[in-house]
């Protein structure tokens, strides 16, 4: 069983609602076990706040196994904290030392307004997908799955792009709050597959237009998104999206 012996200082963003100005508040947590996840450490803090009659800190989380994409804390200046390729829920306290001060903030972007404390509104991502992140096939229209062989390398590449969990760490870390890694991952997944070809050029135009309308910034290729993505989504996807976009706008005869 775990031995809880870490004492930490937390500086946490508190904001009552979208309109509230918000501020950083200091908290102390004691007897933290290195086997705890970062969110379990927050559970301990919240339990303490509730018994003291304070408002617990609100943060998004659900599956706690790194796949739903709901957790979203900006920890010590990095989305999902200091470890590479993990989400906040899979970050464990053994990544910190006794006596550390940890700064925790919500994702910051105009397109991701803060709802409360560390919770932000990421519905912009859903709207980008609704603009074209799909293949238009109604239920019941499919041919036999093996009638469409797809080279393994291509299927694997599509899968790697499809591994995106939509957490928004790319936007959070990008100095421009750009969503291009997220958008390009979906565009790439579908552009790499034969099923995605009929709508390929319409899709890239519509999704990029929606992305711009949501108020995300422009990509300046710093590569921070790729470095911080918990699922290792590659910058190559952005290049592919750019390519498809130029083809759609300048070569294809289809209007976006």
């Amino acid at each position: 069983m775990s031995t809880g012996n870490m004492n930490l200082t937390l500086k946490v963003w508190r904001q009552k609602n979208t309109q509230d100005k918000g501020k950083m508040v200091d908290y102390k947590v004691a007897d933290i076990s290195p086997d705890m996840s970062f969110l379990e450490m927050f559970d301990v803090l919240n339990e303490d706040l509730i018994t003291k009659g304070d408002d617990p800190i609100v943060f998004d989380h659900d599956c706690r196994e790194g796949i739903c994409g709901m957790c979203s804390m900006f920890i010590n200046g990095r989305p999902h904290g200091p470890k590479d390729a993990v989400t906040t829920c899979q970050l464990h306290m053994r990544s910190f030392k006794d006596g550390d001060t940890i700064v925790v903030e919500p994702w910051r972007a105009k397109a991701f307004p803060v709802i409360k404390d560390l919770t932000v509104d990421r519905s912009a991502f859903d709207r980008v997908i609704a603009a074209g992140g799909f293949i238009s096939v109604n239920t019941g229209n499919a041919q036999d799955a093996n009638n469409l062989p797809i080279p393994k390398s291509q299927a694997d590449a599509a899968f790697e792009a499809a591994a995106c969990i939509g957490c928004g760490a790319c936007v959070a870390t990008c100095k421009n709050a750009s969503a291009m890694l997220f958008v390009s991952a979906k565009i790439s997944q579908l552009a790499l597959l034969p099923q995605g070809q009929p709508e390929r050029y319409k899709r890239v135009q519509n999704m990029v237009a929606q992305m711009d309308a949501e108020g995300f910034g422009n990509c300046t290729n710093t590569g921070a998104c790729e470095a911080e993505c918990p699922k290792g989504i590659s910058l190559e996807n952005i290049a592919r999206m750019n390519r498809d976009y130029y083809s759609a706008k300048f070569i294809s005869e289809e209007e976006g």
Partner: protein, 224 residues
């Protein structure tokens, strides 16, 4: 046509303009650097002035100069617009942001580096370009060409200008270190086999070209 015009106002379109103009400016640097390197080979400046004369009189070059200026202007204006837009995309900043953990400082500082280069360009252009194109160069060399070399010697006898030029070339180096490879990414020219090569060439270019440029004022100041 609607598709094409609205393409340039989109996020990717704006980047495209930055990329194309950037690439164009890179090609200009090659020519500029090549011709100026004459200073290393001829102390009298005759060779250098020959090159300058060619650049000043060849009509293709003169035409390209207009395009260059337009490209430069576009690069600056678009860069500024993008910088402001990108800042607006995050109205509330982080209290603590550890950018170095995931990206290079110069890739995040293109606006700043660009601004430094703009200041340098104003000084540089007023010292040479304005003189050679508009106000006129007072002396001529042994060949009877305008003696731009003399203007250069005069300018770089002042150690502060030498320092300014060297520092500016460091800015240019970092600007290119990100900008070179970034341009290819923006244009979508990404390929598992060639991208590493492009990146390597980018690093080489960003070191060699600014180094040569920076060496010129030092060379002349030291009278080598």
């Amino acid at each position: 046509m609607g598709s094409i015009t609205n393409a340039f106002s989109s996020s990717i379109g704006k980047k495209l303009i930055m990329g194309i103009t950037g690439l164009f400016l890179i090609s200009f640097l090659v020519v500029h650097c090549f011709l100026n390197s004459f200073v290393f080979f001829d102390k009298t400046g005759v060779l250098f002035n020959e090159g300058a004369h060619f650049m000043a009189t060849n009509w293709i070059i003169r035409a390209m100069e207009v395009v260059l200026m337009a490209g430069l202007l576009l690069h600056i204006v678009q860069g500024a617009r993008l910088t402001f837009q990108n800042q607006a995309a995050r109205p509330v900043k982080y209290a603590y942001n550890d950018g170095n953990a995931n990206s290079k400082w110069y890739s995040r500082s293109m606006g700043l580096l660009g601004t430094l280069l703009l200041i340098f360009l104003i000084v540089h252009l007023s010292q040479f370009w304005v003189v050679s194109r508009f106000t006129g160069i007072p002396t001529i060399d042994a060949n009877g060409h305008e003696d731009l070399y003399a203007v250069m010697k005069e300018t770089f006898s002042n150690v502060w200008f030498v320092v300014l030029y060297v520092l500016s070339m460091i800015s240019l180096g970092y600007h290119l270190l990100h900008g070179f490879a970034s341009t290819f990414q923006t244009l979508g020219w990404n390929h598992k086999k060639y991208t590493p090569l492009i990146k390597a060439i980018g690093v080489g270019f960003s070191i060699i070209v600014p180094l040569l440029f920076a060496a010129m004022p030092v060379w002349i100041y030291l009278g080598l």
